[in-house]
């Protein structure tokens, strides 16, 4: 059901945007639109299917803490 709603939503956005681009012959714009939508749809589908996604903020936190851990602890403990 959730996957179906996702497909419906992306179809709606595509139907809203693409006809105008084709009419104006904006092929480059269409390519960038298609690329971004493909990335969005793939990530959305993976989420809907329950695939464990990497957490970007958590990753950045781990990298920063690995390099600045002692400094951050010294401030936190004050």
């Amino acid at each position: 059901m959730r996957a179906f709603l996702l497909v419906l939503f992306f179809t709606g956005v595509t139907a809203f945007e693409v006809p105008g681009l084709v009419q104006k012959k904006y092929w480059r714009e269409l390519m960038v639109f298609a690329l971004l939508m493909t990335v969005g749809f793939t990530l959305g589908l993976l989420m809907v299917l329950g695939v464990e996604m990497p957490k970007i903020g958590e990753g950045i936190t781990k990298v920063v803490e690995a390099h600045f851990g002692d400094f951050l602890n010294s401030i936190h403990n004050q």
Binding site: L21, R28, V39, G44
Partner: protein, 365 residues
């Protein structure tokens, strides 16, 4: 070919900077970890923020009418310039995902705890996408209407809470180790003052270029005063518990009770949150969309607005497992992660431009 034909007056730029800066700070109070000195910490953060603003406004004024993506091409060359622009835009996009996360955390924890996050962020970002598709003039005009209203809300809340404020809660002043004071004030600069570096994508569209510096400074100072008075209000009302609440403004305003008629006014925080959140997210989405369009050599930025809005929603879902991680990130990690983008890249660009004596006159090219 110009992707944006609109122009905004300097008064709208002041409102945009003010609304953008106050933005998500209405949800997560900046300087909160300065305890009773939070109001002072905000003022120190503002000073650092003004210095950061001086750097990026100087850069923008050196290349009038050009966004960061365009001026980076000229300063760093065609290829390196594109890499620098892409890195900057990725950071703006990441900031956008964090802002969506801020608002959904607040709505999800306080207002609608059983509603799936995607249904909270969907309508919110849809409205922002609609504004961005209508151009910078529409965002500017809405800021001119919404920001004074939010400002009035803050003033009213302070007046209503005046009788509950205990000034002894703010004493002793500066009872905080210097290292922590500097760290927290730097944190206030990183979130929210220096985040206004995103305006490098907006400043080319001001109609009176000569007023840019003053308008940005006015916006930042007004935002600093607003945030400082909010921190003062929250610390004076909540006392020692001020630091403990995730959403201290919300908790403080819940206590308003004027002759038992004006009660449960926390709706003021929610209204402010929606209005200022709209401005912050619209500016971020606008900057990202315009930047991506210029980077890919498109003739219009409109086709990338909706896909980028969707990606921002997905990006915010891919940031953290829970809100406590977001708060930790805002307090401890962001002040380290953000400065290279807020100050580093604009300062480097400015220095290279000065050394290379850019921009060159038409005849020198």
């Amino acid at each position: 070919m110009a992707l944006e034909k609109g122009k905004i007056p300097s008064s709208q730029l002041v409102m945009l900077v003010l609304g953008f800066t106050v933005g998500s700070s209405l949800v997560i109070t900046p300087g909160k970890f300065g305890g009773q000195d939070a109001w002072l910490v905000v003022v120190l953060g503002l000073v650092e923020g003004l210095l950061t603003a001086w750097v990026y406004v100087s850069l923008a004024l050196r290349f009038p009418g050009r966004t960061f993506v365009q001026l980076a091409d000229e300063i760093f060359g065609k290829y390196l310039g594109k890499v620098v622009s892409a890195v900057f835009l990725l950071w703006v996009f990441h900031l956008g995902t964090l802002v969506v996360d801020d608002f959904c955390s607040f709505a999800g924890l306080i207002l609608l705890p059983n509603t799936p996050q995607v249904f909270l962020m969907g309508p919110f970002i849809w409205i922002c996408a609609s504004a961005v598709r209508n151009g910078i003039e529409v965002i500017g005009r809405t800021a001119q209407i919404l920001v004074p209203f939010a400002f009035l809300n803050v003033v009213l809340s302070i007046l209503f809470l005046a009788k509950d404020m205990a000034l002894t809660s703010l004493q002793p002043i500066l009872n905080i180790p210097v290292k922590k004071l500097l760290w927290v004030s730097h944190g206030v600069n990183a979130f929210p003052f220096a985040e206004t570096v995103v305006f490098l994508m907006v400043l080319p569209f001001i109609n009176k270029v000569g007023e840019t510096k003053l308008s940005v400074a006015k916006g930042l100072v007004l935002a600093g005063l607003t945030l400082s008075s909010m921190a003062f209000r929250d610390a004076a009302v909540l006392g020692g518990a001020f630091e403990l609440f995730s959403f201290s403004s919300y908790q403080a305003i819940r206590l308003i009770s004027v002759t038992e008629v004006f009660t449960r006014l926390e709706i003021l925080v929610v209204i402010n949150m929606l209005m200022m959140g709209y401005i912050k997210l619209s500016v971020l989405l606008y900057g990202t969309a315009l930047g991506v369009a210029q980077l890919s050599g498109l003739r219009s930025y409109l086709p990338v607005v909706l896909p980028l809005s969707i990606l921002m929603c997905i990006g915010s879902l891919m940031n953290f497992c829970d809100s406590s991680q977001l708060f930790h990130y805002s307090e401890m990690i962001w002040p380290i992660v953000a400065p290279p983008f807020q100050l580093g890249i604009p300062l480097l660009a400015l220095l290279v431009a000065v050394v290379r004596r850019l921009p060159k006159e038409e005849g020198q090219k």
